[in-house]
Amino acid sequence: MEQMVTVYLLGKEYSVPATLTIMDAMEYAGFKLVRGCGCRSGFCGACAVIYRIKGSTELKVVLSCQTKVEEGMCVGKIDSFPVNKRTFNIEEIKATDNIVGQLYPEIFSCIGCNACTKGCPQGLDVMQYIAYAQRGEYEKAAHASFDCVGCNICASRCPAQISHSAVGLLCRRLTGKYIAPKCEHLAERVAEIENGDYVTLLEKLKNTPLDELKDMYNKREIEK
C-alpha cells in the first residue's frame, strides 16, 4: 500500500499518494484540468497555485507541476492573472531614454518589500531585475530575468502593482535586438541567400540519385 497524505484541494478533502505533484493530485482527485495546466514540465507558468499547510499562517505560491504534495496542504489556484502588458513597436523604440520606465512607470513605485523574489518558483532575484530596469541597465535586467516562465506569482504579491514578467520580457527584447553584439557571419549568410547563391547547389542536390546521396552522407566530414 503506497503512502497517502491528506490534502484540501479547492476546499475539499482528499487522500492522495504522497509521491504525486499537486497537479497530479488534482487529477487523482478527479478534476479534469482545462485551466491551470500547460506544459507539465515547469516551462510555461500556467499552473501557479497558492497553498498553506493547514493551521499554518504562512502562504506559499508554487508551480503545481513542480511541487510534491505534503500532508495538510490547502490548495487554491491562480489560473489567470491580469498582467498589464504595454504594447510597443520594437522597430521604433530604442534601448535608451528610460524606455522601460516610460512604458512601465509603476516600476518606480517599488517599495523594496522583496515579496516578488520570495515568491519566485524559479528562484530569480525579481526585485533586483526591477531595480536594474529602473536604472536603465536593461542587459543586466535581461539576464537576471532570463529564466522567467511568466507564472506571474511575483505580480500577484506585489503591493506596487508591477507586472514584472512583462518588464523582464521588454528588457530581454531590447537586449536581444539592440544591446547584444551584432552577428556578422549571420548577416553575411543572409546576404548570400538573398543573392541566390545557394539555388544552384540545392537544385543539384535535389536531383542527385539516391545511391550517390547515401554515399555522400555516409562519407561526409564531421566537424570535431
Partner: protein, 536 residues
C-alpha cells in the same frame, strides 16, 4: 539523503568508477548497416504491434499508430449536432488554429501583410511544445557550413524520405529565420564579438545548433507571443477548433470552435485557414510517457483528414532518447539533447559507455532500448528500466559552472526533486517526443484543400521519418512565416461560397460503408489522467 534508491546508488558507483577513463574515449559511431539493424530490431516504429491499417480517408490502406487511427476513424464531435452556420460569430481574413510557435510566426507575417488575423487556441496563447523545446534551433550560418550541408544532414537523418522541396525551403530559409528572430529581440547565446555559440546535435556534421541557454523554445515563444500581442492580432483562448468548415466549392472557409467555458459552438468564417495545432505526444503511443505539452493530441491531423487532406508518414514517431526515467514526479519529461552535445555520455549499469552520444534520435533510442532489454544492462527505475546519462562529465570537460550557465532549466528541474545533476548522473529512457509525419503540404505550406495551410509539427514530410534536433524550432519559423505570407496573399482574392459541414457527414458515411462504428469522440482535445485512481 540521496533521492536515489540503494540499488541505483550501487549502479551509480560503476558510473563514477569508469568516468575518468571514459573522459578520454568516445565510442565509435555505428555504421549504416549497424544502424539499420538496430532500428529494425528495437525501434518502436518498426514493431508490428501498435499500428493499424487505415480503412477510410485519403490515406486508406496505410498504417498509423492505433491511438491516432482511432481518432482519424473516430466520431466527430459535431456528428448529429445542429450548428447554425448562418450565424457567423467571427468573420476574418486569416484564421490560425493553434497558439504555439508556428501559429504565432504565421500570425505576425499575415498581419504584416495587411490581413485581418485571428488565432484560436485550445489552452492559452503560447501553451505549446515550442515553449518546452530546450536544446536549440539549427541554421547554417557559419563559414564552414552551408544550406547544402544542412540539407544532407537532415536528409540522411530522415532516411532520405524528406520531401525535397520542403527540405530545401527549411535549410535555405534557415539563416533567414534566425535573422528574423534576432531582429525581433530573441536573446541568442553569443560570443562577445557577436559570433553565435553553436554546438552539435545528434546527426549534424557541423556545429549549427543555436541556443538561448536551455530555454531556447521558451525564449522564442515568449518573444513571438509578445509580438503577436503588439501587432494587434485577435486571440481567442480556451476555444479549440473541432471541425474545419469548407464552402460549397470545397475551399477551406473557417472552423467550428468549442468554447470551453460556455460549452457553446462558435462559427468562424475565414478566407484562409492555417492549421498549427502541433503534435500528438499525449496520445501515448505504445504506452510511452511523453515530453509533450498537455494539449498535444493531434487535433489538426484529425480535422484536416476528415476534410480530405492527405497525411504523410503518419506512422513515423520520434522517441526522444533521453526522457526522465526517475524520479516519478517528472517521469517522461525531456532531458535536452544538449546535455549530450556538451559531452555527457550514455552509460549502462556496469559503467560502460555503449554508444556514441550523438547518433540521430531514432538510432539512439533504439540503442538505449537494446541495452535495457536484449542486453539486460539497465537499471531498475520505477516500473521500468533505465540508463545513466553522465552529466557530471560536462563540468569536468567545460569547467565548473557550465551547467548553471548552459543548462539552467535542467539543473532547476532536478534540484526541485532533490537531485544535483552537476554531482550525480541521471536516469533516462526514451520518451514520446515528436510526430515526424503529419499533413502533407507544398512549398507554399498549402494542402490539397485550397485555402488550408499547415505549419509546425502538424506538417509531415519536411523531416522524412526522423527529425534532427533543432530542426523543429526551425521549421515552425520557416513554414509559419511562409504560411502566414501565402495565406494573407490568397485571402485578398478568395470569394467564399456558403459554409458547409457536408464533408463531416460524407466521412461518417464512408466509415459506415467500411463497417466502422466508432464512439470515440474525435478530436480528443485533452488527455485524461487519473494516476492510478480507480475509475469513479
Amino acid at each position: 539523503m540521496s533521492a536515489f534508491t540503494d540499488d541505483m546508488l550501487k549502479s551509480m558507483a560503476n558510473v563514477e568508477r569508469t568516468r575518468a577513463a571514459r573522459l578520454n574515449s568516445t565510442p565509435e559511431r555505428f555504421t549504416a548497416e549497424e544502424k539499420e539493424a538496430l532500428l529494425q530490431a528495437f525501434h518502436p516504429d518498426y514493431s508490428t504491434k501498435g499500428f493499424k491499417v487505415l480503412e477510410v480517408g485519403p490515406n486508406k490502406g496505410e498504417k498509423a499508430p492505433v491511438e491516432l487511427a482511432q481518432l482519424l476513424e473516430g466520431k466527430s464531435l459535431l456528428q448529429g449536432v445542429a450548428v447554425d452556420l448562418e450565424r457567423v460569430d467571427y468573420d476574418v481574413d486569416v484564421l490560425i488554429i493553434g497558439g504555439g510557435g508556428a501559429g504565432a510566426a504565421a500570425a505576425i507575417e499575415a498581419k504584416r501583410a495587411g490581413a485581418d488575423v485571428m488565432i484560436v487556441t485550445k489552452l492559452r496563447m503560447g501553451d505549446a511544445n515550442t515553449m518546452m523545446a530546450e536544446g536549440g534551433i539549427q541554421g547554417a550560418d557559419k563559414g564552414n557550413d552551408s544550406p547544402a550541408i544542412h540539407y544532407l544532414d537532415a536528409l540522411g537523418g530522415g532516411h532520405y524520405k524528406n520531401v525535397p522541396e520542403l527540405l530545401e525551403k527549411l535549410v535555405t530559409e534557415g539563416p533567414l529565420a534566425i535573422d528574423w528572430l534576432d531582429k525581433l529581440g530573441v536573446m541568442f547565446d553569443k560570443e562577445a564579438d557577436g559570433t553565435m555559440v553553436t554546438t552539435h546535435g545528434g546527426g549534424t556534421s557541423r556545429k549549427r545548433m543555436h541556443a538561448c541557454a536551455d530555454y531556447t523554445g521558451a525564449e522564442l515563444m515568449r518573444v513571438l507571443r509578445d509580438e503577436v500581442q503588439n501587432c494587434g492580432v485577435k486571440i481567442l483562448e480556451f476555444a479549440p477548433a473541432i471541425e474545419l468548415l469548407l464552402d460549397e466549392a470545397g475551399k477551406c472557409a473557417g472552423a467550428v470552435l468549442l468554447d470551453y467555458d460556455s460549452n457553446e459552438h462558435i462559427v468562424v468564417r475565414a478566407k484562409t485557414v492555417i492549421m498549427a495545432t502541433g503534435g500528438a505526444g499525449r496520445l501515448h503511443y505504445q504506452g510511452f510517457p511523453t515530453s509533450n505539452h498537455y494539449g498535444a493530441t493531434a487535433d489538426g491531423l484529425v480535422m484536416a483528414y476528415r476534410a480530405g487532406a492527405p497525411l504523410i508518414y503518419e506512422d513515423a514517431i520520434q522517441y526522444h532518447p533521453t526522457g526522465v526515467a526517475y524520479p516519478a514526479q517528472i517521469y517522461g519529461a525531456l532531458v535536452t539533447e544538449k546535455v549530450r552535445s556538451l559531452g555527457a555520455q550514455l552509460v549502462n549499469s556496469n559503467g560502460e559507455a555503449f554508444m556514441h552520444p550523438l547518433e540521430t534520435r531514432d538510432v539512439s533510442a533504439a540503442s538505449i532500448i537494446r541495452e535495457c532489454t536484449a542486453r539486460g544492462n539497465g537499471v531498475k527505475a520505477l516500473d521500468g528500466v533505465a540508463l545513466w546519462l553522465d552529466t557530471p562529465m560536462i563540468e569536468i570537460i567545460h569547467g565548473e559552472g557550465t551547467i548553471q550557465k548552459r543548462l539552467p532549466g535542467m539543473l532547476r528541474m532536478y534540484k526541485k526533486f532533490g537531485i544535483d545533476l552537476r554531482k550525480e548522473p541521471i536516469l533516462i529512457y526514451p520518451t514520446l517526443h515528436y510526430q515526424n509525419g503529419g499533413i502533407l503540404i507544398d512549398a507554399n505550406a498549402e494542402t490539397k484543400i485550397s485555402g488550408l495551410y499547415v505549419a509546425g509539427e502538424a506538417v509531415g514530410g519536411i523531416h522524412g521519418t526522423n527529425r534532427l534536433m533543432g530542426n523543429s524550432l526551425l521549421d515552425i519559423i520557416v513554414f509559419g512565416r511562409i504560411a502566414g505570407i501565402k495565406a494573407a496573399e490568397k485571402a485578398k482574392t478568395v470569394e467564399l461560397g456558403k459554409l458547409s459541414l457536408a464533408h463531416v457527414d460524407a466521412f461518417a458515411k464512408e466509415m459506415e460503408a467500411a463497417g466502422i462504428a466508432s464512439e470515440v469522440p474525435s478530436p480528443k482535445l485533452l488527455p485524461v489522467y487519473t494516476h492510478g485512481r480507480n475509475a469513479r
